[in-house]
Point group: C2
């Protein structure tokens, strides 16, 4: 683990191939790190440039007299070998991110051999390789980012992400940034071709990192599946792992082979094995980010009994469909006492516990009805968690609803997933809620999936 | 149909229960119509107010001397009956939207009877009722909207929507409004309890309306299913119908009973029957809006052979997974000639037709590679449609990519679904594409679902 600690906390980085052309990845990575405020030293490397983006440029790695922790390499594949020959003579470099593509993923025997040769030199020199075909790592603690995804600034927080696709991992960060309150990632890693560093090693490292309390993963194929499951089983007793595994179909699996040179394998076998390891498998990027969001801020539910409290019938039914189809959460058996109290605070046309655990306050519900109903169900001992759905109409200021429910939610140690529909009109209210550590979702299905996954993950956690 | 034409094109509307309190639905409906620019006359009705939002207020319907086409009623349930008694004496009113809830949907025998009594009076007077428990209708042609969903302005266009849930229908409009180019709805209807006007009648009306070229529907339950299927079968030969049917699970179905008093029925039976009628069933709100978007602007595909052209491996694999799982679209058998041409325009690390029909240009692809590859696959006679995915990184200006591909797309009469990832950073480019009638999607799964549904719907269309 200490080697990864040294790489993720690199005090100095050489960026090889950093010209002054904005159309070059290496140029943009320097730009991103300067904007982000990387706390270490950046050394641009280019045979002809004198300076890049205001930084002194070096002709080669050997020219750098100071200590060097990390290399980022953005030159054509055929030039990478000689860079490693040079790098291997220094003795101080701990890691290298190879951005360049055109190695083993092509299936070309010559390029596979080239990749092997590079890995061999690196191994002897003690340099761990991320990639090739890789955008590398992010560590928000020191504002280190070797990514060329257009993400202005990764917020720091208690999450981590491991990805086998740079574009997927980058998109996830863009989505995280646009949450009403941006999701915070402490660390993030793209493993590319995994010629050396594997996603399993990173998972193990993130598993031990006390700053990280939940881990997201995107996988295409799975080399050394048993090892991953063993390590995951240990981690999921302490922190949730949410996984999106693609290449589910045979054709999709054939495409993964061209992407990172790894066969995806049979999907159904994974399904069962992942379950045993406590990994929560999700279906898509939105579900992945929503599960991370819920896990990042909500208290862990004590059980699987959920109350669906809605101001709108249609979205309420969609929520019940989702919960029932999944079959892990169950509608809470709300007590008669609570039902009688609910009848007192709601209008006569409200649907109270038909079926039990489901309450439709109807569009007549104003701030008070939202807050009173929510308080009553959170008080009920049979309720472990709540999905609250509201679509404040023109006659009900959404922010008032947000304020009234936040006050209630913060008095109880039970998870509440809030869905305010729909879109930018609800952003102010959702920002208010998320600033108060109440995660919000754009539609009821997403709120339901997030709470389902959080509850499943919580069932694997062992309290110490 | 003429009765619906008179209601949707109402020249005058009385809004009963319109006080000056902004917390009242009837007040907000007047506000919405004034802001929207309703082209007819609005008569606020309230026993005590002198004017509402600058409009002269009437104490009762009888006081209005001019001709009256439509009533919107926003008073408590128990007061609705006497309004109909009064309205029935006029003889000019064609329709009424009853906003008020608390009728048959409660299951209370007295309230069911009250609803029946109201319907009987209305029938005798020739007044068609939307609702109760209903937000009614929208007609963008004359800026008529009885909705209290917080939608500033519904763009006009060639789409229509029928909904059994006001909140769902309202949310859909909010989502439509936030598309890079807002989706245009010519007409929209919420049927509430369907005490009189049914979703089937509205469907038939929208089916005959030449301004409407695609119809979206949200259903919870299905009274008179056979009639709906018969009418739909006729319509789907001329224009697509995309349906979201909820209450899929038994619990969800029980909740629909409380919502609109209709049992949802067995989901599997629906599935088969809907297919026979040519209705395209979708899974969620996003898929519904995406299918409508694709259908609204794209040329109809001639067949089911799709090319997946991607700049990023992960999202490409997700797309293939979605297509394969659904099993209607097939990857296009691209010709050797095209493959050889693609090899010339792309970088060596690109994945060309492994599997066939799938091309990963890799992150090295700039504007030219996007445009050249797209041109080649659109030229290929075996390609009926294209899903183009791009995640322009920091070194590639997204708008340049958008411009270069728009120029190509507009030269061919084949549908291209474009996915630019991710979020607001891609908004400028997506706006550019959508202004050029090229629909864009936020993630590859959504692009795939939209194209799948468009292709399925197109297979039912009969050319004249």
């Amino acid at each position: 683990m200490i080697e990864f600690e040294q790489i993720f906390y690199a005090k100095s980085i050489a960026i090889v191939g950093a010209s002054n052309k904005p159309s070059k990845a290496a140029h943009q990575i320097i730009n991103t790190m300067l904007k982000g405020g990387y706390q270490g030293t950046i050394y641009p490397i280019h045979p002809r440039e004198k300076d890049v983006l205001g930084l002194k440029c070096y002709q080669s790695i050997s020219e750098i007299e100071e200590s060097l922790d990390l290399l980022v390499i953005g030159v054509p594949a055929k030039e990478v070998y000689k860079i490693f020959l040079e790098a291997s003579t220094r003795g101080d470099i701990k890691g290298a991110v190879i951005l360049s593509a055109g190695f083993s993923e092509t299936g070309d025997p010559e390029l596979i051999e080239l990749e092997d040769k590079i890995v061999n030199i690196a191994k002897k020199a003690g340099i761990r390789i991320f990639g090739p075909n890789c955008i590398g790592i992010i560590n928000s603690d020191i504002k280190l980012s070797t990514s060329f995804a257009p993400v202005s600034k990764v917020a720091n927080g208690n999450l981590a992400f491991i990805t086998q696709s740079g574009s997927f991992g980058g998109s996830l960060l863009m989505l995280a940034e646009e949450s009403p309150k941006p999701l915070g990632f402490n660390k993030w890693a793209h493993v590319g071709n995994m010629s050396d560093v594997t996603n399993i090693e990173i998972l193990e490292y993130f598993g031990t990192d006390p700053k990280i309390t939940s881990i997201g993963m995107y996988l295409e194929g799975l080399a050394h599946g048993n090892e991953l499951l063993k390590i995951a089983k240990n981690i999921t007793q302490k922190k949730p792992i949410f996984l999106l595994k693609v290449g589910r179909t045979e054709l999709g699996s054939r495409a993964t082979l061209s992407h990172t040179g790894i066969i995806a394998g049979s999907d159904k076998i994974y399904d069962g094995a992942l379950k045993q390891s406590g990994i929560i498998r999700v279906d898509n990027m939105e579900e992945l980010i929503d599960s991370l969001k819920a896990s990042s801020t909500l208290p862990k539910p004590k059980g699987n009994k959920v109350c669906v409290l809605t101001e709108a019938g249609g979205p309420g039914i969609i929520t019940i469909d989702e919960i029932t189809k999944d079959n892990f959460l169950q509608l809470a058996p709300i007590t008669d006492h609570t039902i009688n109290q609910l009848k007192k605070v709601l209008y006569p046309m409200a649907t109270i516990c038909k079926p039990n655990g489901y309450i439709d306050m109807t569009a007549a519900a104003l701030e008070k009805e939202h807050a009173d109903s929510l308080r009553l169900v959170l008080e009920d001992p049979h309720v472990d968690s709540v999905i609250l759905i509201s679509l404040p109409p023109t006659f009900l200021p959404a922010l008032n609803v947000a304020k009234s429910i936040a006050e209630v939610i913060n008095k109880y140690n039970k998870p509440v997933a809030v869905c305010f529909m729909k879109g930018v009109k609800m952003l102010e209210s959702r920002k208010f809620l998320e600033k108060n550590n109440i995660p919000t979702f754009d539609n009821p299905r997403r709120a339901a999936r997030a709470l389902i996954n959080l509850t499943k993950a919580s069932s694997y956690l062992k309290t110490e």
